[in-house]
Subunit: 271 residues, 2 copies
C-alpha cells in the first residue's frame, strides 16, 4: 500500500516532518511518498497546495494524508477545504496546555525553527566552527571542549561531532586513536587531562573494513586483519581507562549524540 | 511563570523535544526548564523517571509537564502513574491513521531516529564527508554536488552545507566569493558550468563586520566599509546571473536549508 503524505507548514515544516515520520513508521507495510510544502505563507499559496493535494488524490486513487504545522488561521481555513486526512500536529496539545497554564496561546509562525533565539543560534554556529577546527585531532588542545570523541579512523567521530554542534550547540572535538597510540597501549598524553570528557566510539571490524575499502581500496589500512586489531585494541584501552564506549555500527548519528549527551549530562547550550 | 518540562522517550527523545518545543513556544511568557530522559527502556528506569518528576514537583511547587514519545506499553503504564500533565505525542494521531489505513500499528521503539534505514544513513554520512571535502572551495570540482552555496567569507555557507548533509543527505559544496572574484565582476569560471545548482547566501554588512571582528579584529577584512562593498557587489553579481539569493541575517540554519531544498526542488536522499 502506497500513500502520499504532504508535510505542510507556514515555517520550515521540520517539526511536522519529524513527528509525521515517527508516527507513520509505526504502521508496517505502509509505503509512502513524501511531498514537502514549507513556507506556505499566503492564502494563495495554500490554494495551490490544496490543488496539488487534489491532483495527487486523482493520480493515486486515494486521498492523501496531510501532516500540518500551520498556525496562521487564514491558511488553516483554506487547507481545511481539502479532501484529505488532516493531522494537525499542534491542535491536540494546545487545549490541555491552556487549561494547565491558564494562559492563551499566541501562535507565532515558524518560531520553533526560526531565528527567535539568537543565543541558541550563536552557540550552535560557534560549536560548529569549534568542531571543524578540532576535527581529527587538529586542535590538539581540548580545554574548551564539552566532549572529546576518541576512536579509530572511520569509527564515526566526525559526523557525531557535527551533529552535536548543529543540533545541541555542544563543543565536540575528536581525536583519532592511530596505530602508534594503540601500540603504546595507554591513553595518549594529549587526552590524559580530559578524562571526564572523553567518549569512545567503536565499530564492528567487518563494517570498518568495508568503510575503509571505499576510501583506500586494497590497503593494509582497510584490511580485515588490521581493522580487527585496531578495534579490539582500542576497545580494551578505553575500557581499561573507564571511558564510556558506544558502537556506531547499528546506531544512527542522532542516537549516538543523544547517548553522549545523556551519559555526560551535557545540557543544550543557549537553550 | 517557570515550569519544568520532561522529555521522556524509549528512543532518543528527539521527536518529543522537537514537537514539545514547538508547542510550548506558542505560550508567551512561559519560561521552562527542560529535562531530557531519553532511552528509558525498562520499567525500573521508568520508575526512576517518575521519582524525578515527583521530586521536581515538590521543589517547584507545581506538577511538571511531560512530553512523551514512549511506545513500549509496559513503560507507558509506569509513567502514567506520575502526577503530571502528560502529553503523549503519538496517541492523538494513531487512531485516525488506523481508521484511514485499515492496518494496526506496530510500535517499534526508536525507529524514527534509529538505524532502521541504512540507505538513508549512508546517504547522510556520504553527504557529510562530501561537505567536509568541498568546504570553502576546497573541492574545486562540483560535478557531484546537488547544490553549491556561494557567498562572501562568513556569510553562513559552512553550517548550512553541513546541515543539508546531516539532515537531508544532500551533497552541498560551498565556494567563497573572494575580493578578486568580486573585482572581476563576473561569475568565476569554476562556477559557470553549475549555474542551475548555485544558491547564494548574503548577510547584513553590519552583522558580517561583527562576525569577522570576532575572528580577525581590527583588520581590513572585518571593516564596515569592506563588508559593505563585498556584500553589495556579491548580491549584484549573483542577481545579474539569476542565482537565487537568501539572507542569513535573520534566518536559522534550518530555515535556510529548508528554503534551499524547496527552491532547488531537491529531495531527501535515501528517503
Amino acid at each position: 500500500m502506497r500513500r502520499t503524505i504532504f508535510y505542510v507548514s507556514d515555517g520550515t515544516g521540520i517539526t511536522a516532518e519529524t513527528l509525521g515520520h515517527a508516527v507513520l513508521t509505526q504502521f508496517p507495510g505502509l509505503e509512502f511518498t513524501s511531498i514537502r510544502l514549507p513556507f506556505i505563507e499566503t492564502p494563495e499559496q495554500a490554494m495551490h497546495a490544496v490543488e496539488r493535494m487534489r491532483a495527487e488524490a486523482e493520480t493515486r486513487g486515494v486521498r492523501p494524508i496531510v501532516v500540518s504545522s500551520v498556525v496562521n488561521p487564514a491558511i488553516r481555513e483554506v487547507l481545511n477545504e481539502a479532501d484529505v486526512l488532516m493531522l494537525d500536529i499542534f491542535r491536540p496539545f494546545v487545549e490541555p496546555l491552556v487549561e494547565e497554564l491558564g494562559i492563551e496561546p499566541s501562535p507565532t509562525i515558524g518560531r520553533a525553527h526560526g531565528f527567535g533565539d539568537a543565543a541558541r543560534y550563536d552557540a550552535r554556529i560557534d560549536a560548529t566552527n569549534y568542531a571543524l577546527s578540532h576535527d581529527d585531532g587538529m586542535g590538539r588542545s581540548y580545554d574548551e571542549a564539552d566532549v572529546v570523541l576518541v576512536g579509530v579512523s572511520r569509527s564515526g567521530k566526525t559526523p557525531t561531532c557535527l551533529y552535536l554542534a548543529l543540533q545541541y550547540g555542544v563543543r565536540a572535538a575528536n581525536d583519532p586513536l592511530v596505530p602508534e597510540d594503540l601500540e603504546a597501549g595507554r591513553l595518549p598524553e594529549r587526552l590524559v587531562g580530559h578524562k571526564g570528557r572523553l567518549f569512545g566510539l567503536t565499530i564492528d571490524p567487518a563494517r570498518l573494513s568495508e568503510v575503509r575499502e571505499t576510501r583506500l581500496p586494497g590497503t593494509r589500512y582497510a584490511s580485515a586483519e588490521q581493522c580487527r586489531w585496531e578495534v579490539s585494541t582500542s576497545e580494551r584501552l578505553l575500557q581499561a581507562q573507564g571511558v564510556p564506549v558506544v558502537s556506531t555500527t547499528r546506531s544512527s548519528v542522532e542516537e549516538i549524540a543523544s547517548m553522549i549527551l545523556n551519559r555526560l549530562d551535557l545540557r543544550e547550550k543557549g537553550a
